[in-house]
Symmetry: C2
DNA sequence: ATAAAAAAGGATAAAAAAGTCTTTTATATT
DNA sequence: AATATAAAAGACTTTTTTATCCTTTTTTAT
């Protein structure tokens, strides 16, 4: 469904969201542990998200990654789009380039609904909105 | 969503379904052209589907691939499962191994519904049931 | 029998994705 | 100002996926 990169990205961003609710920053090492991902790999992914403005970072001692007000209101759809592009939202299930309403593949109509459901959910899900459940161990980001 | 291999597999199988409704067989070359796929690659994929019994084949002059009665009643879900396994039906959206009802990732509950929708559709879609629309150019398998 | 047609199979190549390592740059603290 | 810390950057390696090529085997029609 998502690329591995995107899976890690979402997990990392939700982890950071939780940690940065009270304004604190969190380092790569802690993130990697917190979401059980390869340290260098998630570092690279976060660099990218940072360049694109979806997470914030500060170098140096007591630095780390965090989400500002704006980023806390970004959605999972924003993250997915930045990492995987929007083929998941608009691509053809059978890989046809010109698949569309007027030239549909056999799965087009059904998958249109499904893709809309996915988009609807991801667009409605703000990065900051899982903090409570994560805090209370109702949701998990590793294993 | 699906691997490229699986996309080709589905397209090929639907193409063969259409051609073999009247009992005729179709060669690799024609299949590759019919679904606009690399010839050698789709050959490989069909070998695999053939070994697993989802398509039938006959060697020699006037041979080719076809679907018998049973295969015409197989479903898209069968094809997907054979090619991609069932991670699309049961895997965690965030790649967690132990994600489940009692230890869910933040996307679990929403994606459960989505995966069920996908499975419901793929399981209900018999390979032979698109023939009419393909014949009438209401559905397409290439470009 | 034989030639032609077609799938089966094995080996390899190319491309993309995933993951690792090392160096550089910024900055907070001392 | 010096130092230690932490992210940024980029090069590199490995693994997986996608694709190609070539030989062998099987089957059918002549």
């Amino acid at each position: 469904m998502f690329s591995k990169t995107c899976e890690y990205a979402i997990r990392a961003v939700l982890f950071i969201a939780q940690k940065s609710e009270d304004g604190s920053k969190v380092g790569i090492r802690e993130i990697a542990k917190g979401i059980d991902s390869p340290e260098h790999f998630i570092a690279k992914i976060l660099q990218d998200l940072s360049r694109k403005g979806l997470v914030q970072s500060q170098k140096g001692p007591s630095g780390g990654f965090y989400l500002d007000k704006t980023s806390l209101h970004a959605t999972l759809a924003d993250v997915v789009r930045v990492v995987d592009g929007d083929k998941i939202f608009s691509g053809c299930a059978l890989g046809l380039k010109q698949c569309s309403e007027i030239k549909p593949c056999p799965l087009h109509h059904e998958f249109k609904k499904i893709r809309e459901d996915i988009l609807r959910f991801l667009q409605s899900a703000k990065l900051g909105e899982f903090n409570r459940q994560l805090e209370q161990d109702l949701f998990f980001l590793k294993r």
